[in-house]
Symmetry: C2
Subunit: 309 residues, 2 copies
């Protein structure tokens, strides 16, 4: 991971210091590095050797992720990211938009050594992000989004790129087809569990621990699993739905809504689904030979769902 | 070019129709296709054979370009693009931003078959776009930008990617190092001439012919060569500078400013510089063997500077 961090840092150097500063502001703030972590561990788990290609690959996943964070915050008006002021707030929308594009380009540059199968895996996962953002935005302020659509959004937004990280990592590590497939499935299930818990924490989490604002999905009218479950509640759902669809919400309304959600079974139901995905992820690891790397993948899955307020 | 158009069209297909629609809105509106045109002609001029790689490459350049147009319009609030309503105005900022990202990703996907040298050429040119946008935005509403900085901005914004198109096209066509270098220099000079004339037309052009709004650079306080030359004018420059730095300008003020610019030597001086770049571009073609393709490259250079209102 140290090599990956160094590669990420060197990838954002360029002639315009401001561009590098914006990227450092976002990337240097930390973050969980799940995507590069999964790529590296999947690589090692199938016996991959240290090499420039896997370091580039892992760094590239984090650059794509950071690009989408910067652009997401512009679109969602998210104010805090990784414990820091969102890039567009600090540097302006214009420069943040450019910085996101720059990160896409730099991620692509790192891909110079990959074969076409790898490029397609990564590009298809990145396409899924864009597609699911479109689906999500077309369901904004819609209080009747089905569980299926919510999960579809999560899959495209988060799980597909983690699937790609596991798939590409193990592929570059010369894993067998079966191993690549298993680790890909692990990544997909891990990603689902991770995003569901993330959406729970937006309701339930501790702001200082989250490193980002809270209640954002509710404010932005974004359909997430816990919010949709809460709106299904016989007692509080009707009131929550009415609040959810409002384009402008006061701070009091948001706080009240989050309190109401807590009175429903929404958080528990969502955790249960996240636990199911975690279990599937662990099952997917079963065919992989035992190693400290496999153990770490397994711990990662546990960790992802054990994040609570 | 027909094959390139077909490749562009198939590259923007995806599961979300809206995403494809937004891209079609921008790409289907036409445009001059200078980047893919230069890539193809440079390829053929050195004896390149028809092949999937050059078609992919040419399509990829147009996708990158279209992505930057969509994002530029968000940043500059440009209202008309290629004769149509700007994407962000028609579909909203959020969806347009995502569509731009999607085009970057799809451009990258087409790159799956390139070798790492090609990827680096393209990525470095795309980096130059982001860098120069940052330089440009840091000089917004600054009436004292030097000719050198203006040209630096143009180089990064437009010329570098046309240079890359020529370079990559001839490289994939198995041109000699000398030919690749000459065509690259042709592309750079062509790009400079092209952008200078584009900036002149923003002052001087015919809106229906331009396919975009007029006076936009002045309104946005963007330092272009003709605007900076006009501000240097001993008689009208002072007044123009005062108008240029205003963040809010009325329609009348913009019209008056464009009339004042016409009374200066700015447009002629700028055309002269564009002509100089065109001449350099033509000189760069001298070492290339005669062919209809070389002839077309030469005509392209003439056409680029002969665009007038």
């Amino acid at each position: 991971m140290e090599q990956v961090e160094a590669r990420i840092r060197s990838s954002i150097d360029c002639e315009e210091n401001l561009l590098t500063d914006i990227c450092r502001h976002v990337i240097g703030a930390g973050g969980k590095r799940i995507r590069p972590g999964v790529a590296l561990l999947s690589n090692k788990a199938v016996g991959g050797k240290n090499g420039d290609d896997i370091i580039n690959m892992a760094a590239s996943f984090e650059l794509i992720h950071s690009a989408t964070l910067i652009h997401d915050d512009i679109n969602d008006l998210g104010e805090i990211r990784r414990g820091r002021e969102a890039a567009y707030k600090k540097y302006g929308v214009q420069k943040a938009l450019i910085a996101g594009d720059f990160l896409f380009v730099r991620s692509f540059r790192l891909g110079g050594t990959w074969d076409s199968r790898v490029v397609q895996m990564v590009a298809d996962a990145a396409t899924a992000i864009a597609e699911s953002e479109i689906v999500q935005s077309s369901h904004e302020f819609d209080p009747s989004v089905s569980q299926e659509v919510c999960e579809k959004i999560i899959e495209g937004k988060t799980a597909k790129i983690i699937e790609a990280a596991a798939m590409v990592g193990s592929y570059l590590g010369k894993g067998s087809d079966d191993q690549v497939q298993k680790l890909a499935a692990y990544g997909l299930n891990l990603g689902m569990a991770f995003q569901i818990v993330d959406d729970i924490l937006d309701i339930d989490g501790n702001v200082s621990q989250l490193g980002k604002s809270k209640g954002v999905d509710f404010i932005d009218g974004k359909p997430t699993l816990p919010l949709m479950f809460a709106i299904e509640d016989p007692q509080f759902g009707g009131k929550l739905a009415k609040m959810f669809v409002k384009r402008e919400k006061t701070k009091q309304e948001v706080e009240e809504a989050l309190r109401l959600v807590q009175k429903t079974e929404a958080v528990n139901r969502s955790y249960k689904i996240a636990e199911d995905y975690k279990s599937k992820a662990l099952q997917n690891l079963e065919g992989i030979p035992d190693s400290v790397f496999k153990e770490s993948l397994s711990q990662l899955a546990e960790m992802v769902v054990s994040r609570r307020k």
